[in-house]
Symmetry: C2
Subunit: 138 residues, 2 copies
DNA sequence: TCATAAGAAGACAAAAAGGTCTTTTTAATT
DNA sequence: AATTAAAAAGACCTTTTTGTCTTCTTATGA
């Protein structure tokens, strides 16, 4: 469904929030190990998340990643859009550039309701709502 | 949703079936032009489709592509699976290797019903059912 | 204040996806 | 039989995705 970068981004951010709820600020090595992702690749992705203001970080000894209340809650749709674009939210399943109710591809009337459900999901769920859900990481 | 190869495969096959219904057997150049796909890449994809027995072809002058009744109808799910694998039908949205009702990722209970709808769609729709639907190609 | 632990930055590289082109084979038509 | 039109095969190339590594910067704590 999503590309690797998006998956790693979502898993990292949820892990960070889970640990924040426990009063901890995890670092890159811990995050990458826990979510089963390549360390340096995860670092790069999180750096972009920080630059976009989606999550905060602190350099130096005792540093790590954390959310501040100014930016949370963070919709997963915003993360997805920032990382891989909005094709999953708006694209045609048949790959047509122009496809809508008035000029539909042969899959349109079956696929559009599914795409709508995806849109609802990514608009409603947040890194915080996911972090509150008890769940495994592998 | 799907990768380029899958999109081109679906669009090609639907176009071939549409033309077959009119009593024609389109060739590669025509197909690629009509579905707005790169010619040689489409040729390669269709060759694989022929090798898998999903569609038939005839070489030489007056040749082209066609479906015979022995193999039709062809489920789009079979095409998708053959071209890009079944990740879209079975994969976890969070990217976890093991994710199910007893060991769910935080998105599982929201995403699983959507994945089910995708499964139903690709199991019910066929190249033939799509070819019978009046629709544009761009 | 100096050593150390952490993230930031960015160059580099491998693998996968996407795409192009030439040559070969096949069949129909003249 | 020769010509021509078509698909088959496969080498090759480009771009994007995914991943690695080294160096720089920053902050903490002894």
């Amino acid at each position: 469904m999503f590309n690797k970068e998006t998956e790693y981004a979502m898993r990292s951010l949820v892990y960070i929030q889970v640990e924040n709820y426990k009063g901890r600020r995890p670092g890159i090595s811990e995050i990458a190990a826990e979510i089963d992702a390549p360390r340096f690749f995860t670092a790069k992705i999180l750096q972009r998340m920080v630059r976009q203001g989606f999550v905060q970080s602190r350099k130096g000894r005792g540093g790590g990643f954390y959310f501040d209340s100014k930016h949370a809650p963070l919709k997963i749709g915003d993360v997805i859009k920032a990382v891989e674009g909005d094709n999953i939210m708006t694209g045609c399943a048949f790959g047509l550039k122009y496809c809508d109710e008035t000029n539909p591809c042969p899959l349109h009337f079956r696929y559009a309701p599914i795409r709508e459900k995806i849109n609802t999901l990514v608009a409603e769920e947040t890194i915080q709502s996911l972090a509150r859900r008890p769940a495994g990481t592998d």
